[in-house]
C-alpha cells in the first residue's frame, strides 16, 4: 500500500486532497468562482477579452421570460439550451433542427423530437435550479450549436467532443481530448463513461486513451484508434487556454474548448476544480509539471508566450 503511494508520489501524481488543499484553496479564491460557475458571466468575460465563444442567442433568467423562448429562436434552426450554473454537462439540450411539418417541434441531437412545450418545461426546471450546483435559482442560456470539426468524427459517439486544458498560473500544464461514448450518453465527462485521450502539448497530437481509469487504444463504440489524431489550430487552443488565466484570475483552471467546423476552437466553459483523470489520460502526474511552472513563472509574460513555453517544456 505504502509502496504504491510512494511510486505515485515519485511519478508526481496529484491526489484529490493535495489538489484541494494545496492548489485550489491557495490559488482559487472563492470570490472568483462566479466567473467560471456562471456561464453567462464567463461568456461576457471571455468576449471582452477577445476570446472566441459560441454566440449567445438569449438568456432566460426568470420563469416569466420562459415564454420569450420561441421569439429568441425564431430565426434559428439549431441551438443549445444549457443551465448557467450546471455541472458535468447536466441539463443541456442540443437542438439540431426543426420538424419538417411543425415549426414548433424540434429535433434533438439524439434524433428524438421534442415539442416547444417540453423545452419550456425544461427551461422552467433550469430556472428553478434543478441543475445548478447549489440548488439555487439559475439562468438558462440559449446559444450557438457547435457543428464540430470532422477530426474527431471517427472517435465520437453522438455528442460533442471537447478539448480540456489544465492551466496552472497561466501556463498550460496538461491537455486531453474528451470523446463521448454510448455509455456517456453523448456527454464528454470521463466519470460518465467518456473516453479521455491525453494530448502531447508539443505537437497537439493525441496519445493513448483512458476509459474508466483504464488505458484503452480504441473508441469502445466506433472501434477507431484514439491515438495520434492531430488537433487543428493547437497553437490557438493553447493560447486561448492560457488567456483563461487573465480572464478568471484562477491559478488552477480547467479550460474546455470545442472545435467548430467553421469558426474554429471556441471556449465552452471554464472550471475551477478540474478533475484528476487527465493524469491517467496522459500517463503523467500534474505535480511535476506544476513545480516546473513555478520555476519558470513570469508574471509579466503574455498568454502567447506562456503557451509557447508550455509547448517546449511539456512536449513528449
Amino acid at each position: 500500500m505504502f509502496s504504491v503511494a510512494k511510486s505515485l508520489r515519485a511519478a508526481g501524481v496529484l491526489g484529490l486532497n493535495e489538489r484541494n488543499a494545496e492548489y485550489i484553496m491557495r490559488l482559487n479564491p472563492r470570490r472568483l468562482y462566479p466567473r467560471v460557475d456562471d456561464k453567462v458571466l464567463t461568456k461576457q468575460l471571455a468576449l471582452s477579452a477577445g476570446m472566441a465563444v459560441p454566440d449567445l442567442y438569449g438568456v432566460i433568467a426568470h420563469q416569466a421570460e420562459v415564454r420569450n423562448f420561441s421569439a429568441m429562436v425564431a430565426e434559428r434552426d439549431s441551438f443549445v439550451v444549457k443551465p448557467a450554473q450546471g455541472s458535468g454537462g447536466d441539463g443541456i439540450l442540443v437542438v439540431t433542427g426543426r420538424s419538417q411539418r411543425k415549426r414548433d417541434s424540434f429535433r434533438l441531437s439524439s434524433g428524438m423530437l421534442i415539442s416547444e412545450g417540453e423545452i419550456q418545461h425544461h427551461l422552467s426546471n433550469i430556472v428553478g435550479g434543478q441543475y445548478s450546483l447549489s440548488g439555487n435559482r439559475d439562468k438558462a442560456l440559449i446559444e450557438y450549436c457547435v457543428r464540430f470539426d470532422p477530426t474527431f468524427a471517427e472517435v465520437s459517439y453522438q455528442g460533442v467532443p471537447d478539448v480540456r486544458v489544465v492551466v496552472y498560473r497561466g501556463y498550460p500544464a496538461m491537455a486531453m481530448v474528451r470523446l463521448p461514448t454510448r455509455a456517456s450518453d453523448g456527454k464528454a465527462n470521463l466519470h460518465q463513461g467518456a473516453v479521455g485521450a491525453g494530448v502531447d502539448l508539443g505537437s497537439g497530437r493525441t496519445m493513448a486513451g483512458v476509459l474508466d481509469d483504464l488505458l484503452v487504444d480504441e473508441h469502445p463504440d466506433t472501434g477507431a484508434l484514439v491515438a495520434d489524431l492531430e488537433i487543428p489550430q493547437w497553437d490557438f487552443i493553447l493560447e486561448s487556454s492560457a488567456r483563461g488565466y487573465e480572464v478568471t484570475g484562477l491559478g488552477y483552471l480547467g479550460v474546455d474548448m470545442v472545435i467548430d467546423a467553421e469558426r474554429g476552437p471556441l471556449i465552452l466553459e471554464m472550471n475551477a476544480r478540474p478533475g484528476l483523470n487527465i493524469q491517467i489520460a496522459n500517463c503523467a502526474g500534474l505535480t511535476g509539471r506544476m513545480q516546473r511552472i513555478e520555476e519558470i513563472f513570469d508574471a509579466a509574460s503574455r498568454p502567447a508566450e506562456r503557451a509557447a513555453i508550455a509547448r517546449t517544456e511539456f512536449s513528449a
Partner: protein
Amino acid sequence: MNQRYVYILAALLTVIGSSVFFYKWQVLGFPVTEDQETAVWTVESAVHFDSGPGSIKVQLHVPSLTPGFRMLNENSVSRGYGFSLNYGSGGREAQWAIRRADGEQTIYYRISVYEDGSVDESDTTPPFPPKPVINEPLNTAVEILVDDVREHSADTTSFTTELLRRMNEASPDSNVELLLSGVSSSADFVDVVTMVLASARIPARMVHGFPLAGRQRSASLVSWLEVHDGDQWLYFNPATGEQNLPERFLIWWRGNEQLVNVAGGSNVQVDFAIQENHLDAVTIAETQAAQRGTAAVDFSLYSLPIQTQAVYSVLLMIPIGALIMVIMRNMVGIDAFGTFMPVLIALAFRETKLFWGVILFTLLVTLGLTIRFLLDRLRLLLVPRLSAVLIVVVILMLFISLTSHRMGMDSGLSIALFPMVIIAMTIERMSVVWEERGPADAIRAGLGSLVVAVAAYIFMGMQWLEHLIFTFPELLLVILALVVLSGRYTGYRLTELRRFKELSSR
C-alpha cells in the same frame, strides 16, 4: 506558514485537552472506565452520657492522619451544642459545648472515608524521647529488660519484635511479670510497651482504630503500636509482635489520652458503628474536586439534570462520528451522500441496532427512490418535489412501522428515529445522481454512505468511549485537533491508489 499555524493550533488543543484530562484522571481521580465503584465506609461514633447540673464540654478525638484512607466528608449531630474542630496533642479533636442540658445526652460524630493508597502519612519525624522517670523497682526491671532485648536485636524493628515477644510469653520472666502486674487492658499493655521503648530512646506511640470490614453495629477499638525507626512509622501488633497494620485499618486517634473527655457529665460511653457503601467513583471524584475548589466540578456534565445528561451523552458522540466521517472520506476516499448524513444515520442506528438499522435504511431508501422516480414523471418543480419526497418518506416510515408491528416484529417500530428530512434529501440526491451519472454511481455512493454510517455507528456505540468523552469532555479538543490536522492531509486517499494504479506501474 499556513501549515505551521495548523500544527501549532493542533498541538495547543491537544495539550489543553489532554492536560485537563490528565489532571481530572490522576489528581481528582475521575474514572476512565465505566462502573468503577469505590467502597465508602461511614463510621459513626455516638457519645452517650448523663448531663450534670452545670455547663458541659465534650472532647472527642477524631481521625486526622489516616494512612490508606481519604476523608469524603464528616459531620456532627448534636442538638443545641456548639461544635468546633481543634488540633490537640493526639491529633484533631471535636469539641461540643453547651451551657445547660438535661438528662441523657447523645452526640454523634460521623465520618466517611474511602480507600486511597496515595494518602501517605505526612507526619513529622519525632524527636528521640527523653528517658522516662520510672520509680523503683520498675526502673531496674525496665533497664534489665532493655539491655537484654538490645543484646538480642539489631535495629528498631527487631528490638520491638523481640520486646513484644518477651512481653507476650505465656510464662514471662520476672521482670516482665513485674511490669505487667497492673495491666488490665490492651491499651494499658501498649502503654507499658511504649514506656519500655522510650527507655531505649525509641519513639513509639499508641494508635487506636478499627479494621474496616462490612457492616458492624458496634465496633470496638483496637490499640496498635506505632514505632518510628528514624525514617518512617512502623506498625506492630502488640499481642503478637507481628509487623504491619491489619487490613483496612482506620486510625482514629493516637497517643495515650482518653478517647473522650466529658466535663460536666457522667456515665460516659462511646459506641462505634461502621457501615460500608459503594459509591460511584465519579461522585467521589466530584466531592474531592469540590473540596479542592477546582473549576473542574463546575463544568462537569454530571451536574446537569439527568435528562439533559442523557441527551449530551449522545450528542458528545457526534464529534467522534464526524472524525470517522473525515477519515472515511478524506483518507479512505469513500463516496457518500451528504456531508453528515452518515453520522445522523449512525445516530439512528443506536436505537434500531445495526442489523435492523441497515435493513430499514435500505428498505426506506429503495422504496423512496422508486416513488421518487414515479414522481419524476409528473415534472414537479424542485421545492414541491422535495416536499413530496419528504411526505412520502414519512408515509413510508409509518407504513413500515405498522406492517412490522402487525407481523409481530417490533424492531420495525424504531424506524421512526431515522432523520426523515435527511433521508428525503438523500433520496433526492441519489435519484439525481442516478439520472445524471447512472445507477452504478448512485448505488456506489449509497453503499458508501451506509459503510460510513456503519463505521461511525461502531465507534459511536463504544460504551467506554462514550463514558470517556462524557466524563472528560475536554477530550473533544483532542478530537478537534485531529480533525484540524486531517484538514491539511494532502496525501493520497486509499481509493486513489487503485484509481491511479495505471500511473504507478510506470
